[in-house]
Amino acid sequence: MNAAPSIAVEFRQVTKSFGTKRVLNDVSFRIEQGQALCVLGRSGTGKSVTLKLIMALMRPDSGEVNVDQDNVVGMKENQLSLVRKKLGYLFQDAALFDSLTLYENLALPLSRLTKKSRDEIDDVTRRVLTDVGLGADGAKYPSALSGGMKKRAGLARALVLEPKILLADEPSSGLDRITAAEIDELLMRRKSEHGTALIIVTHDVHGARKIADRVAVLDKGNLVAFGSVAEVSQSDNDVARRLITE
């Protein structure tokens, strides 16, 4: 008998406001380990906030955010550190550290969060850089990289700790179709080869249809549709249907 798949991320009645503006309103969903969830919605509907709540970079006003069974809301920093080791985060503009080379950007989390030796860190860093096609660019600073290379470098940094869950904030924004497809390939490979759960905030419906096991559509802070691509395409909600089909 197969064991039930474990929950990767679960939102339970999460609400978040900035001043008087409510960006998430009583949002609940969950995805399981090894699944890919694409979060769609118009700009300013709380998609990036969703990722930051999972990473506990923000706290919700109410509700629970469970990451791999642990509720991160109200956790202390030392407990959060353990949870964050399970998470990788690809930021919208990669957010590479300007003052560090690409190699140093990847080596930093390994040296800070693991007990690996210098040689082991070197091995892992070079391997991950090679995996994303930047094996020859480790000595470069972020300012010397193109948009696509930055995205791949940001992805490499997000993957360097072998996370169980990968969060990606608009991984294909600002990229041409071919480069965006390459990033999508890297994400799908991660899911199929390592069983990593993916939560991807995106405007790229083409990519979402290719990657997603589940689609969540946010509109004005509300979760208006959740399900497979086929289910959301048949949704009663007009915004959700238009977003996934256009």
Binding site: K52, M55, L57, E77, L80, S81, R84, K85, L87, Y89, F91, Q92, D93, A95, L96, F97, D98, S99, L108, P109, R112, L113, R157
Partner: protein, 256 residues
Amino acid sequence: MQWLGKWIEFVGKMGLFGLQVLVDSLRPPFEFVQLSRQLAEVGNRSLALIVVSGFALGAVMTLHTRSTLVTFGATAMIPAVQAVSFFVEIGPLVAGLLLAGRVGSGIGAVLANMRASEQIDAIESLSIDSFKFLVVPRVLACVIALPFLTLFMDFAGLLGGLLSEVLSSHIAPALYLSRAFDYLQWSNFIAPTLKTTVFGFIIGSVSAYFGYTTDKGAQGVGEAATNSVVVSSLLIIVADVLLIKCIFFLFPDTAL
């Protein structure tokens, strides 16, 4: 009265920020690698500016002092006036203001840019305490580097005055230096130099405050740089007044 409330809130927040710097600078883990990087940035890269400015200021001051003291037949006092004024006040204050301009704006802009481009979030997402990693080393670097930069400023000013006097009155360099140090006591030298650690703390923490706490995106970068220089320069001058009173209290000889 709304502005008063906002001003009090701002002062309170900046005070708490400075307090957090003090607490976190004593709490492990210590970011020695970051500190050495920042010392190189704050110290080494400011040295040329400090030395050239000190030298030029020393030469100019001597020219002005000479034109006044000639009237009283007291040109022999020029080296002493030059040394005392530089070591006691001009060196520490000008070094502090120059550092506020060069380093303060840099700290404000860099941290604001890191905030706008989500680099600070990225650091937090790696479970690294961004405050200890980014803010504390920058403030400590200012605290450590400024007294040394002040010494360079003092001696560069003295050299500028020496050159000016040698060219104007053909005084022997050894005699100039002897007269310069005749009136200088250790208390004239140590306390004013050490007070620059306070200036360094002001520059580092004020600039880091504006950069680290900005939430205005790209627009916040320019604002943080400008505010860092303006507020830290103003606070340095105000703090100087208070510190001089403290020095006079602790070293009464220096007030004579």
